[in-house]
């Protein structure tokens, strides 16, 4: 019944080294990756939606250095997660803690429960230090995906 995590995030949706001067630039770069993968038809509209959610929540960054910008948008063709590592860090609204691990969650306007279930499992794993460390240290995009697959059944 559930959807495997590796349909949501594929190696081409993993960015190992993202350089972004600010939050907006990071979101734009990640959205570009989604467009290139054919999972997003309205790049600008989607960026605006993610941005609006950032403003609403005061930023989706956590003290642990992760950020989970997210939006539901009609331009998203299939539920997707982009994993971006930002070695230089980028501000996502958490005090004194730039985010170096960004999970962008893109859901189509009518995302169904099975996808939501997988996404919330991912969110739950992110609370655990060991999981974050493994993702930060994974050598390749494929390794990132296989860690996710291992940890999120």
């Amino acid at each position: 019944m559930t959807v495997a995590i590796d349909t949501l995030v594929t190696p081409d949706l993993v960015i190992l080294d993202l350089e972004a001067p600010d939050r907006r630039a990071a979101i734009e770069a990640i959205a570009d990756r989604l467009s290139a993968a054919g999972r997003l038809t309205d790049r600008d509209g989607f960026v605006d939606a993610v941005w609006a959610r950032e403003q609403e929540t005061g930023g989706t960054g956590m003290e642990s250095g992760i950020a989970i910008p997210h939006a539901k948008h009609a331009g998203v063709t299939e539920p997707s997660v982009v994993v971006a590592r930002v070695p230089g860090g980028v501000d996502f609204g958490a005090e004194d803690a730039p985010a170096d691990l960004v999970f962008l969650i893109a859901a189509p306007a009518g995302a169904d429960d099975v996808h939501v279930t997988v996404l919330s499992k991912l969110a739950r794993r992110l609370v655990h230090q060991s999981f974050r460390t493994a993702l930060r240290e994974a050598p390749t995009a494929e390794a990132v995906v296989s860690i996710l697959k291992e940890q999120i059944q």
């Binding site: 609403e56 956590m62 003290e63 989970i68 997210h70 279930t117 969110a123």
Partner: protein
Amino acid sequence: MKLVAVTACPTGIAHSAMAAEALEVAAREAGHEIEVEIQGAAGGPGISAATIAAADAVIFAVDAGVRERSRFDGLPSVEVRTRRAIDRPAEVIAEVEAAAAEAPSRTAARPSPMAAAAPAGTSPGEQFRIWLMTGVSYMLPFVVAGGILIALGFSIGGATRVTEVEDWPALSSVFDSRVQLGALLFKIGAIAFSMLVPILAGFIAFGMVDRPGIAPGVVAGLIANELGAGFLGGLAGGLLAGAVVMLLMRINVGGALSKMMPVLVYPIVGTLVTGAVLVLLIGNPIADVQSGLTDWLTDLQGTNAVLLGLLIGSMMAFDMGGPVNKAAYAFGLASLDSGNFAVMAAVMIAGMTPPLGLALATAVRPRLFTDAERESGKAAWPLGLSFITEGAIPFAAGDPLRVIPALIAGSATAAAISMAVDAQLRAPHGGIFVLGLIDGKIGYLLAGILGTAVTAAVVVGLKSVHRDQAHADAGAAPREAVTV
């Protein structure tokens, strides 16, 4: 310590799940038990009323309104944003420990009536049904009180005469005059009846958003009455009121302002927006639909009374006191108001045969029923005779695919016969107790007896066929019907 927590965020995907995980981990590390309810898209089952009653304190880690918050009334609580629960879960746990220690020994948390009925995370269709049933269930005592008092008033003072009494009867006159005594009962009953739509609308909204929904919902129901939008208007008005308050609850305001929301903003803005939308936009179209429906059914009565009987009989039995049943009942009331007494007679007999037929079936074929059903069968006699269709629910809940068709067959039969013999009833309720008020008693009794017999026969027949599979195929049957 036993803790409960609710986490919620606007999309209900990420932050609520992370906060739940962080709180679970931190609570266990601190040696506490915890159960977390995630509200929103990723919600699992809600926390049971029993767990809440046993809990020592509650944590709200929320960026959005808490659904059915009153379940937790009386528990020491701590409220934080999800981010704080994610970043500093241990601090939040320490705060809730302090809150629990400070709180005076509390009285047992009062389980809300909704706690069992509407667990978070049910499907949208199921959720919708629960909302409507909440409204209908709170409306039912008004139906019974109003209906029976009006019926009694009619039997004591005469239907025509009591309705002609204009002023409230005085103490001195009620003991002298049967008409005045009847009028007293009638007028009290009529006041109860005038609340049907407001209570329906108010408690649909209550089912959706808890207490803040009641004021906008009740006002929506009063407006629906005023506009002539009736039962349909009440359904729509209640849903509208709930939706408006739901939106207001999503507005995040910080600090002191957040305390003003339930006291000032939900009642004022909720009522204003709901009322304005109802009056200016949707009220009159709904009133047109409602009167169109009534006109259509009334026309049908002229041209094909038996067909009308079959239709309203089926509606009365379909959900045994639910929204469809009440829609048919509302049509009966509207017909009474316009001086047409045949429809009410058919509605009442169709609402009586479901419990009666099942009671009869348990008496003649007890082996086909469980012990609990046989007990329900005994209670179903007086319920059916009193026109409380809900007496059939215990049977239908266990085996809907066999029971509901049987109920529909019997009720349709009863209502069609009642229409065919043109039985007339001037009271809106009362069952066997208003038999004296009915014109065409013999035909009416016949309708009731045959309807009861049909229900009993069909349910016995259906339960006897494939009896071995009685439980196994209850879920598979609809699929077969589609593929064959």
